[in-house]
Protein backbone atom coordinates (compact mmCIF):
# COMPACT_ATOMS: atom_id res chain seq x y z
CA UNK A 1 0.00 0.00 0.00
CA UNK A 2 1.20 3.51 -0.85
CA UNK A 3 0.00 6.34 1.39
CA UNK A 4 0.62 9.94 0.35
CA UNK A 5 0.98 12.37 3.25
CA UNK A 6 -0.10 15.80 2.02
CA UNK A 7 -1.17 19.05 3.60
CA UNK A 8 -0.95 21.95 1.21
CA UNK A 9 0.75 24.38 3.56
CA UNK A 10 4.42 24.11 4.44
CA UNK A 11 5.55 23.76 8.03
CA UNK A 12 2.46 21.99 9.34
CA UNK A 13 4.36 18.81 10.22
CA UNK A 14 3.98 16.59 7.17
CA UNK A 15 7.48 15.17 7.46
CA UNK A 16 7.10 14.48 11.17
CA UNK A 17 3.81 12.68 10.60
CA UNK A 18 5.15 10.76 7.59
CA UNK A 19 8.26 9.65 9.45
CA UNK A 20 6.36 8.52 12.52
CA UNK A 21 3.65 6.87 10.47
CA UNK A 22 6.38 4.97 8.66
CA UNK A 23 7.73 3.83 12.01
CA UNK A 24 4.32 2.57 13.11
CA UNK A 25 3.63 0.76 9.85
CA UNK A 26 7.16 -0.56 9.39
CA UNK A 27 6.99 1.14 6.02
CA UNK A 28 9.52 2.79 3.75
CA UNK A 29 9.23 6.57 4.01
CA UNK A 30 9.97 8.33 0.73
CA UNK A 31 10.91 11.98 0.96
CA UNK A 32 9.32 13.29 -2.23
CA UNK A 33 10.10 16.93 -1.60
CA UNK A 34 12.34 17.25 -4.63
CA UNK A 35 13.16 20.88 -4.03
CA UNK A 36 13.31 21.13 -0.25
CA UNK A 37 13.93 17.75 1.35
CA UNK A 38 13.91 17.70 5.12
CA UNK A 39 14.16 14.10 6.20
CA UNK A 40 17.62 12.73 7.03
CA UNK A 41 19.84 12.13 4.01
CA UNK A 42 23.23 10.56 4.81
CA UNK A 43 25.48 9.16 2.12
CA UNK A 44 24.64 7.17 -0.95
CA UNK A 45 22.19 7.50 -3.80
CA UNK A 46 18.95 9.37 -3.16
CA UNK A 47 15.64 10.04 -4.86
CA UNK A 48 17.22 12.63 -7.15
CA UNK A 49 19.59 9.95 -8.40
CA UNK A 50 16.75 7.47 -8.84
CA UNK A 51 14.63 9.96 -10.78
CA UNK A 52 17.63 10.89 -12.91
CA UNK A 53 18.05 7.22 -13.83
CA UNK A 54 21.38 6.91 -12.05
CA UNK A 55 20.34 4.62 -9.21
CA UNK A 56 17.93 1.80 -8.55
CA UNK A 57 14.95 2.75 -6.38
CA UNK A 58 15.15 -0.28 -4.11
CA UNK A 59 18.90 0.00 -3.66
CA UNK A 60 18.52 3.64 -2.70
CA UNK A 61 16.36 2.75 0.32
CA UNK A 62 18.40 3.22 3.52
CA UNK A 63 17.74 0.48 6.01
CA UNK A 64 20.32 1.48 8.59
CA UNK A 65 18.15 3.83 10.64
CA UNK A 66 15.13 3.42 12.89
CA UNK A 67 12.86 3.89 9.86
CA UNK A 68 13.57 2.66 6.34
CA UNK A 69 13.98 5.75 4.24
CA UNK A 70 14.39 6.76 0.63
CA UNK A 71 15.80 10.23 1.16
CA UNK A 72 15.88 13.05 -1.32
CA UNK A 73 18.94 15.03 -2.29
CA UNK A 74 19.17 18.67 -1.35
CA UNK A 75 20.99 20.20 -4.28
CA UNK A 76 19.33 22.33 -6.90
CA UNK A 77 21.34 20.62 -9.60
CA UNK A 78 20.09 17.22 -8.39
CA UNK A 79 16.50 18.44 -8.29
CA UNK A 80 16.86 19.86 -11.76
CA UNK A 81 18.25 16.63 -13.19
CA UNK A 82 15.47 14.51 -11.65
CA UNK A 83 12.72 13.42 -14.01
CA UNK A 84 9.45 13.56 -12.06
CA UNK A 85 7.87 11.15 -14.55
CA UNK A 86 9.78 8.37 -12.88
CA UNK A 87 8.21 9.02 -9.49
CA UNK A 88 5.14 6.84 -9.96
CA UNK A 89 7.15 3.82 -11.11
CA UNK A 90 9.70 4.44 -8.37
CA UNK A 91 7.08 4.29 -5.63
CA UNK A 92 5.53 1.19 -7.15
CA UNK A 93 8.95 -0.51 -7.33
CA UNK A 94 9.70 0.22 -3.68
CA UNK A 95 6.29 -1.06 -2.62
CA UNK A 96 6.72 -4.23 -4.67
CA UNK A 97 9.97 -5.14 -2.96
CA UNK A 98 9.80 -3.50 0.44
CA UNK A 99 6.10 -3.41 1.32
CA UNK A 100 4.12 -0.41 2.56
CA UNK A 101 5.29 3.02 1.43
CA UNK A 102 4.59 6.37 3.08
CA UNK A 103 5.30 9.35 0.83
CA UNK A 104 6.20 12.65 2.45
CA UNK A 105 4.82 15.12 -0.10
CA UNK A 106 5.98 18.71 -0.41
CA UNK A 107 3.80 21.71 0.21
CA UNK A 108 1.75 23.23 -2.56
CA UNK A 109 -0.20 21.74 -5.42
CA UNK A 110 2.58 21.01 -7.87
CA UNK A 111 3.12 17.83 -9.78
CA UNK A 112 5.46 16.58 -7.05
CA UNK A 113 2.29 16.39 -4.94
CA UNK A 114 0.08 15.22 -7.79
CA UNK A 115 2.33 12.34 -8.83
CA UNK A 116 2.51 10.71 -5.36
CA UNK A 117 -1.26 11.12 -5.10
CA UNK A 118 -1.57 9.45 -8.49
CA UNK A 119 0.61 6.56 -7.33
CA UNK A 120 -0.99 6.30 -3.89
CA UNK A 121 -3.77 4.00 -2.81
CA UNK A 122 -4.90 6.57 -0.29
CA UNK A 123 -3.90 9.84 1.30
CA UNK A 124 -3.47 11.25 4.77
CA UNK A 125 -3.84 14.95 5.40
CA UNK A 126 -1.76 16.97 7.85
CA UNK A 127 -2.87 20.39 9.01
CA UNK A 128 -2.65 22.67 11.97
CA UNK A 129 -5.86 24.16 13.39
CA UNK A 130 -5.25 27.65 12.03
CA UNK A 131 -7.39 29.04 9.27
CA UNK A 132 -4.67 29.37 6.63
CA UNK A 133 -3.44 25.82 7.08
CA UNK A 134 -7.00 24.50 6.96
CA UNK A 135 -7.70 26.37 3.73
CA UNK A 136 -4.57 24.87 2.17
CA UNK A 137 -5.54 21.45 3.47
CA UNK A 138 -8.91 21.80 1.73
CA UNK A 139 -7.06 22.47 -1.53
CA UNK A 140 -4.79 19.47 -0.96
CA UNK A 141 -7.86 17.34 -0.28
CA UNK A 142 -9.49 18.59 -3.45
CA UNK A 143 -6.40 17.63 -5.45
CA UNK A 144 -6.35 14.19 -3.81
CA UNK A 145 -9.96 13.75 -4.85
CA UNK A 146 -9.08 14.73 -8.42
CA UNK A 147 -6.54 11.93 -8.42
CA UNK A 148 -8.68 9.34 -6.64
CA UNK A 149 -6.53 9.14 -3.52
CA UNK A 150 -9.17 8.58 -0.85
CA UNK A 151 -8.64 10.29 2.48
CA UNK A 152 -7.84 7.91 5.33
CA UNK A 153 -7.56 10.40 8.16
CA UNK A 154 -6.55 13.92 9.10
CA UNK A 155 -3.66 14.54 11.48
CA UNK A 156 -4.54 17.74 13.31
CA UNK A 157 -1.05 18.76 14.31
CA UNK A 158 -0.20 21.02 17.23
CA UNK A 159 -3.72 20.58 18.51
CA UNK A 160 -4.41 21.96 21.97
CA UNK A 161 -7.37 20.67 24.01
CA UNK A 162 -9.63 23.31 22.46
CA UNK A 163 -8.79 22.36 18.88
CA UNK A 164 -11.88 22.20 16.64
CA UNK A 165 -11.70 18.46 16.07
CA UNK A 166 -15.42 18.08 15.27
CA UNK A 167 -15.35 20.95 12.83
CA UNK A 168 -12.31 19.55 11.02
CA UNK A 169 -13.90 16.11 10.95
CA UNK A 170 -17.05 17.55 9.47
CA UNK A 171 -15.11 19.59 6.91
CA UNK A 172 -13.02 16.74 5.61
CA UNK A 173 -15.43 13.87 6.16
CA UNK A 174 -12.71 11.69 7.63
CA UNK A 175 -11.52 10.73 11.10
CA UNK A 176 -9.34 13.34 12.78
CA UNK A 177 -6.43 12.43 15.03
CA UNK A 178 -5.20 15.35 17.17
CA UNK A 179 -1.42 15.44 17.53
CA UNK A 180 -0.53 17.62 20.51
CA UNK A 181 2.58 19.75 20.37
CA UNK A 182 5.20 17.93 22.41
CA UNK A 183 8.86 18.76 22.75
CA UNK A 184 9.72 15.06 22.56
CA UNK A 185 8.19 14.78 19.08
CA UNK A 186 10.26 17.70 17.84
CA UNK A 187 13.34 16.30 19.57
CA UNK A 188 12.82 12.94 17.91
CA UNK A 189 12.35 14.50 14.48
CA UNK A 190 15.50 16.58 14.92
CA UNK A 191 17.49 13.47 15.80
CA UNK A 192 15.98 11.09 13.27
CA UNK A 193 14.09 9.15 15.91
CA UNK A 194 10.42 8.16 15.91
CA UNK A 195 8.51 9.93 18.68
CA UNK A 196 7.69 6.62 20.38
CA UNK A 197 11.39 6.02 20.93
CA UNK A 198 11.73 9.35 22.67
CA UNK A 199 8.63 9.00 24.84
CA UNK A 200 6.11 6.20 24.48
CA UNK A 201 3.08 8.45 24.92
CA UNK A 202 4.22 10.68 22.08
CA UNK A 203 3.80 7.82 19.66
CA UNK A 204 0.12 7.34 20.44
CA UNK A 205 -1.32 9.73 17.82
CA UNK A 206 0.82 8.14 15.14
CA UNK A 207 -0.28 4.68 16.24
CA UNK A 208 -3.87 5.89 15.89
CA UNK A 209 -3.16 7.18 12.37
CA UNK A 210 -1.52 3.87 11.51
CA UNK A 211 -4.67 2.15 12.75
CA UNK A 212 -6.73 4.02 10.16
CA UNK A 213 -4.28 2.95 7.45
CA UNK A 214 -4.41 -0.69 8.53
CA UNK A 215 -8.20 -0.67 8.44
CA UNK A 216 -8.01 -0.06 4.73
CA UNK A 217 -4.90 -2.10 4.03
CA UNK A 218 -6.48 -5.26 5.38
Amino acid sequence: MIVAVTGGKGGVGKSTVAYNLGAELDAVVVDADLGMADLPTGHGPDLHDVLAGRADAVEAVREDGPVDLLPCGRSLAGAHAADPRRLVDTLAAVERVSGPVVVDCPAGLGSDVGLPLLAADASLLVTTPDRIALADAVRARALARELDAGLLAVALNRADPDAPVDHVEETFGAPVVPVPERAAIARGTANGLPARQVAASCGEPFAALAGHVRLVAR
Binding site: L34, G35, T41, H43, G44, P45, D46, H48, D49, A52, R54, A55, G73, R74, S75, L76, A77, G78, A79, H80, A81, A82, P84, R85, V88, P106, G108, L109, G110, S111, D112, V113, G114, L115, L118, D121, A122, A135, V138, R139, R141, A142, L143, R145, E146, L147, D148, G150, L151, L152, H167, E169, E170, T171, G173, A174, P175, V216, A217
Partner: protein, 273 residues
Protein backbone atom coordinates in the same frame (compact mmCIF):
# COMPACT_ATOMS: atom_id res chain seq x y z
CA UNK B 1 -36.50 18.47 7.02
CA UNK B 2 -37.45 14.86 7.06
CA UNK B 3 -35.80 11.47 7.47
CA UNK B 4 -37.14 8.06 6.46
CA UNK B 5 -35.46 4.71 6.72
CA UNK B 6 -35.85 1.06 5.92
CA UNK B 7 -33.99 -1.95 7.31
CA UNK B 8 -33.51 -5.44 6.03
CA UNK B 9 -31.48 -8.37 7.24
CA UNK B 10 -28.87 -9.90 5.00
CA UNK B 11 -26.79 -12.79 6.40
CA UNK B 12 -25.36 -11.57 9.71
CA UNK B 13 -25.80 -7.90 8.93
CA UNK B 14 -28.60 -5.39 8.86
CA UNK B 15 -28.69 -3.06 5.89
CA UNK B 16 -30.08 0.39 6.65
CA UNK B 17 -31.20 2.84 4.01
CA UNK B 18 -31.94 6.41 5.03
CA UNK B 19 -33.54 9.07 2.87
CA UNK B 20 -33.05 12.63 4.05
CA UNK B 21 -34.90 15.59 2.59
CA UNK B 22 -34.57 19.29 3.25
CA UNK B 23 -35.89 22.22 1.27
CA UNK B 24 -32.79 24.25 2.13
CA UNK B 25 -29.14 23.26 2.72
CA UNK B 26 -28.74 21.74 6.16
CA UNK B 27 -25.87 19.98 7.89
CA UNK B 28 -26.77 16.62 9.30
CA UNK B 29 -25.23 13.85 11.39
CA UNK B 30 -26.60 10.31 11.06
CA UNK B 31 -25.58 7.50 13.41
CA UNK B 32 -27.02 4.06 14.04
CA UNK B 33 -28.71 3.79 17.42
CA UNK B 34 -27.16 1.66 20.11
CA UNK B 35 -23.50 0.90 19.67
CA UNK B 36 -23.32 -1.42 16.69
CA UNK B 37 -20.30 -2.02 14.47
CA UNK B 38 -20.80 0.21 11.47
CA UNK B 39 -19.83 -0.75 7.93
CA UNK B 40 -19.89 2.42 5.84
CA UNK B 41 -19.99 2.42 2.03
CA UNK B 42 -16.49 2.21 0.64
CA UNK B 43 -14.78 2.86 -2.64
CA UNK B 44 -11.51 1.04 -3.16
CA UNK B 45 -11.60 0.04 0.50
CA UNK B 46 -11.77 3.61 1.76
CA UNK B 47 -14.93 4.92 3.45
CA UNK B 48 -16.80 7.31 1.20
CA UNK B 49 -16.62 11.02 1.96
CA UNK B 50 -18.53 11.94 5.08
CA UNK B 51 -18.33 8.52 6.73
CA UNK B 52 -16.32 7.64 9.81
CA UNK B 53 -16.35 4.83 12.35
CA UNK B 54 -19.63 5.89 13.96
CA UNK B 55 -21.74 7.55 11.30
CA UNK B 56 -22.13 10.08 8.53
CA UNK B 57 -21.75 13.86 8.46
CA UNK B 58 -22.72 15.92 5.48
CA UNK B 59 -25.05 18.45 3.98
CA UNK B 60 -28.53 17.78 2.67
CA UNK B 61 -29.73 20.11 -0.03
CA UNK B 62 -32.90 18.66 -1.44
CA UNK B 63 -32.68 14.90 -1.13
CA UNK B 64 -29.87 12.63 0.04
CA UNK B 65 -29.87 8.85 0.23
CA UNK B 66 -27.53 6.90 2.53
CA UNK B 67 -26.94 3.18 2.80
CA UNK B 68 -24.81 1.29 5.29
CA UNK B 69 -24.70 -1.92 7.29
CA UNK B 70 -24.40 -2.81 10.96
CA UNK B 71 -23.48 -6.19 12.36
CA UNK B 72 -25.53 -6.09 15.54
CA UNK B 73 -29.34 -6.13 15.79
CA UNK B 74 -30.78 -2.66 15.38
CA UNK B 75 -32.79 -0.73 17.92
CA UNK B 76 -35.93 1.07 16.96
CA UNK B 77 -35.59 3.56 15.43
CA UNK B 78 -32.41 2.23 13.81
CA UNK B 79 -30.77 5.64 13.33
CA UNK B 80 -30.55 9.00 15.03
CA UNK B 81 -30.65 12.00 12.72
CA UNK B 82 -29.22 15.22 14.13
CA UNK B 83 -29.99 18.28 12.02
CA UNK B 84 -27.31 20.88 12.66
CA UNK B 85 -28.39 24.05 10.91
CA UNK B 86 -27.15 25.69 7.73
CA UNK B 87 -23.77 24.71 6.32
CA UNK B 88 -20.71 26.83 7.01
CA UNK B 89 -19.04 28.62 4.18
CA UNK B 90 -16.42 25.90 3.88
CA UNK B 91 -15.36 25.37 0.30
CA UNK B 92 -16.28 22.07 -1.20
CA UNK B 93 -13.75 19.64 -2.59
CA UNK B 94 -15.48 19.17 -5.89
CA UNK B 95 -14.50 21.82 -8.37
CA UNK B 96 -12.44 23.83 -5.90
CA UNK B 97 -11.64 27.13 -7.61
CA UNK B 98 -7.92 26.87 -6.77
CA UNK B 99 -7.52 23.27 -7.89
CA UNK B 100 -7.50 22.56 -11.61
CA UNK B 101 -9.11 19.52 -13.16
CA UNK B 102 -6.34 16.97 -13.50
CA UNK B 103 -6.33 13.97 -15.74
CA UNK B 104 -5.28 11.03 -13.55
CA UNK B 105 -2.23 10.07 -15.59
CA UNK B 106 1.45 10.95 -15.27
CA UNK B 107 1.26 13.14 -18.35
CA UNK B 108 -1.98 14.71 -17.17
CA UNK B 109 -0.46 15.63 -13.80
CA UNK B 110 2.69 17.04 -15.36
CA UNK B 111 0.70 18.94 -17.96
CA UNK B 112 -1.64 20.57 -15.49
CA UNK B 113 0.40 21.04 -12.33
CA UNK B 114 3.65 22.94 -12.07
CA UNK B 115 6.98 21.28 -12.72
CA UNK B 116 8.74 20.56 -9.41
CA UNK B 117 12.20 21.02 -10.85
CA UNK B 118 13.93 24.27 -10.01
CA UNK B 119 14.33 26.54 -13.01
CA UNK B 120 17.71 26.73 -14.57
CA UNK B 121 17.79 30.33 -13.45
CA UNK B 122 18.08 29.01 -9.90
CA UNK B 123 21.02 26.75 -10.67
CA UNK B 124 24.51 27.69 -9.59
CA UNK B 125 26.34 29.50 -12.35
CA UNK B 126 29.52 30.76 -10.71
CA UNK B 127 32.71 29.03 -9.77
CA UNK B 128 31.79 29.17 -6.12
CA UNK B 129 28.38 27.71 -6.74
CA UNK B 130 29.77 24.22 -6.65
CA UNK B 131 28.87 24.31 -2.99
CA UNK B 132 25.26 23.84 -4.01
CA UNK B 133 26.07 20.49 -5.54
CA UNK B 134 25.96 17.81 -2.89
CA UNK B 135 28.58 15.19 -2.29
CA UNK B 136 26.07 12.69 -3.58
CA UNK B 137 25.67 14.60 -6.80
CA UNK B 138 29.39 14.75 -7.34
CA UNK B 139 29.69 11.10 -6.47
CA UNK B 140 27.23 10.25 -9.17
CA UNK B 141 28.28 12.93 -11.57
CA UNK B 142 24.97 14.73 -11.50
CA UNK B 143 26.27 18.24 -11.40
CA UNK B 144 27.60 18.22 -14.91
CA UNK B 145 24.54 16.56 -16.31
CA UNK B 146 22.27 19.01 -14.59
CA UNK B 147 24.22 21.94 -15.92
CA UNK B 148 24.45 20.60 -19.45
CA UNK B 149 21.15 22.03 -20.50
CA UNK B 150 21.45 25.10 -18.36
CA UNK B 151 21.49 27.27 -21.45
CA UNK B 152 17.88 27.08 -22.44
CA UNK B 153 16.27 28.73 -19.45
CA UNK B 154 16.64 32.33 -18.48
CA UNK B 155 19.63 33.07 -16.31
CA UNK B 156 19.08 36.49 -14.77
CA UNK B 157 22.64 36.62 -13.49
CA UNK B 158 23.93 36.76 -17.05
CA UNK B 159 23.54 39.81 -19.26
CA UNK B 160 20.80 38.97 -21.69
CA UNK B 161 22.17 41.04 -24.53
CA UNK B 162 25.64 39.57 -24.31
CA UNK B 163 26.91 38.41 -27.63
CA UNK B 164 27.56 35.04 -26.14
CA UNK B 165 24.17 34.87 -24.47
CA UNK B 166 23.31 31.52 -25.95
CA UNK B 167 26.36 29.79 -24.55
CA UNK B 168 25.60 27.45 -21.74
CA UNK B 169 27.55 27.36 -18.56
CA UNK B 170 28.98 24.04 -17.69
CA UNK B 171 30.13 22.86 -14.34
CA UNK B 172 33.18 20.70 -14.45
CA UNK B 173 33.69 17.76 -12.18
CA UNK B 174 35.62 19.89 -9.73
CA UNK B 175 32.77 22.34 -9.46
CA UNK B 176 34.32 25.06 -11.61
CA UNK B 177 32.27 26.53 -14.40
CA UNK B 178 33.18 27.62 -17.86
CA UNK B 179 31.44 28.86 -20.94
CA UNK B 180 31.32 26.67 -23.98
CA UNK B 181 28.81 25.80 -26.66
CA UNK B 182 26.39 22.99 -25.92
CA UNK B 183 26.65 19.77 -27.85
CA UNK B 184 23.77 20.70 -30.11
CA UNK B 185 24.91 24.22 -30.84
CA UNK B 186 25.60 24.34 -34.56
CA UNK B 187 28.48 26.33 -36.00
CA UNK B 188 26.02 29.13 -36.68
CA UNK B 189 26.38 30.23 -33.07
CA UNK B 190 22.64 29.82 -32.42
CA UNK B 191 21.47 26.93 -30.26
CA UNK B 192 18.16 26.37 -32.02
CA UNK B 193 17.03 23.71 -29.56
CA UNK B 194 17.54 26.17 -26.71
CA UNK B 195 15.66 28.85 -28.61
CA UNK B 196 12.80 26.42 -29.15
CA UNK B 197 12.65 25.63 -25.45
CA UNK B 198 12.69 29.32 -24.55
CA UNK B 199 9.90 29.90 -27.06
CA UNK B 200 7.81 27.07 -25.59
CA UNK B 201 8.17 28.66 -22.18
CA UNK B 202 7.31 32.10 -23.54
CA UNK B 203 4.30 30.75 -25.42
CA UNK B 204 3.10 29.02 -22.29
CA UNK B 205 3.41 32.30 -20.38
CA UNK B 206 1.59 34.18 -23.10
CA UNK B 207 -1.21 31.63 -23.32
CA UNK B 208 -1.98 31.53 -19.60
CA UNK B 209 -5.52 32.77 -19.16
CA UNK B 210 -6.19 31.80 -15.57
CA UNK B 211 -4.44 32.81 -12.40
CA UNK B 212 -3.50 29.19 -11.76
CA UNK B 213 -2.02 28.70 -15.23
CA UNK B 214 -0.19 32.02 -15.05
CA UNK B 215 1.23 31.22 -11.62
CA UNK B 216 2.40 27.81 -12.81
CA UNK B 217 4.00 29.29 -15.92
CA UNK B 218 5.74 32.05 -13.96
CA UNK B 219 6.99 29.49 -11.45
CA UNK B 220 8.31 27.34 -14.32
CA UNK B 221 10.16 30.36 -15.65
CA UNK B 222 11.83 30.97 -12.32
CA UNK B 223 9.61 33.71 -11.00
CA UNK B 224 9.17 37.19 -12.39
CA UNK B 225 12.94 37.68 -12.53
CA UNK B 226 13.09 34.61 -14.74
CA UNK B 227 10.34 36.03 -16.95
CA UNK B 228 12.27 39.29 -17.37
CA UNK B 229 15.45 37.37 -18.11
CA UNK B 230 13.54 35.25 -20.62
CA UNK B 231 12.35 38.42 -22.33
CA UNK B 232 15.96 39.59 -22.60
CA UNK B 233 17.08 36.25 -23.97
CA UNK B 234 14.31 36.28 -26.55
CA UNK B 235 15.35 39.75 -27.69
CA UNK B 236 18.88 38.44 -28.13
CA UNK B 237 17.48 35.36 -29.87
CA UNK B 238 15.57 37.61 -32.26
CA UNK B 239 18.78 39.48 -33.19
CA UNK B 240 20.77 36.29 -33.59
CA UNK B 241 18.06 34.61 -35.67
CA UNK B 242 17.79 37.67 -37.89
CA UNK B 243 21.56 37.68 -38.38
CA UNK B 244 21.44 33.95 -39.03
CA UNK B 245 18.60 34.39 -41.56
CA UNK B 246 20.57 37.08 -43.37
CA UNK B 247 23.62 34.86 -43.39
CA UNK B 248 21.54 31.93 -44.69
CA UNK B 249 20.10 34.13 -47.43
CA UNK B 250 23.53 35.44 -48.42
CA UNK B 251 24.97 31.94 -48.43
CA UNK B 252 21.97 30.70 -50.42
CA UNK B 253 22.51 33.41 -53.04
CA UNK B 254 26.18 32.55 -53.24
CA UNK B 255 25.34 28.85 -53.56
CA UNK B 256 22.91 29.68 -56.34
CA UNK B 257 25.36 31.92 -58.17
CA UNK B 258 28.38 29.71 -58.01
CA UNK B 259 28.89 27.31 -60.86
CA UNK B 260 31.65 24.98 -59.94
CA UNK B 261 33.58 24.02 -63.12
CA UNK B 262 34.26 20.46 -62.04
CA UNK B 263 34.95 19.11 -65.52
CA UNK B 264 37.22 22.03 -66.47
CA UNK B 265 39.19 21.67 -63.30
CA UNK B 266 39.47 17.94 -63.87
CA UNK B 267 40.88 18.52 -67.32
CA UNK B 268 43.31 21.15 -66.07
CA UNK B 269 44.42 18.77 -63.39
CA UNK B 270 45.15 16.15 -66.03
CA UNK B 271 42.57 13.67 -64.82
CA UNK B 272 41.52 11.19 -67.43
CA UNK B 273 37.82 10.51 -67.81
Amino acid sequence: MNAEWTTRHCADRTLIEVTLTSDRPRRVRVEPTGDPTLHPPRTGGIPDAGWDDTGFSGVVDGRLGLGFAVTDPTDSPPVTVDWRGPPDDDPTFEGHPDVPRVEATTDGVLRTLSDPRPPRAALPTTATSGEATSATDREHGTGEEAERDASDRPTPERPSAATDGASPIRETSDGATKDEPSDDTPSTGVDLAAVERRLELAERLAAAETLTAASAAVAAAGGIDGVRALDGHLAADRDRLRALAERVETLGDRVDSVDLPVETLARIGGERP
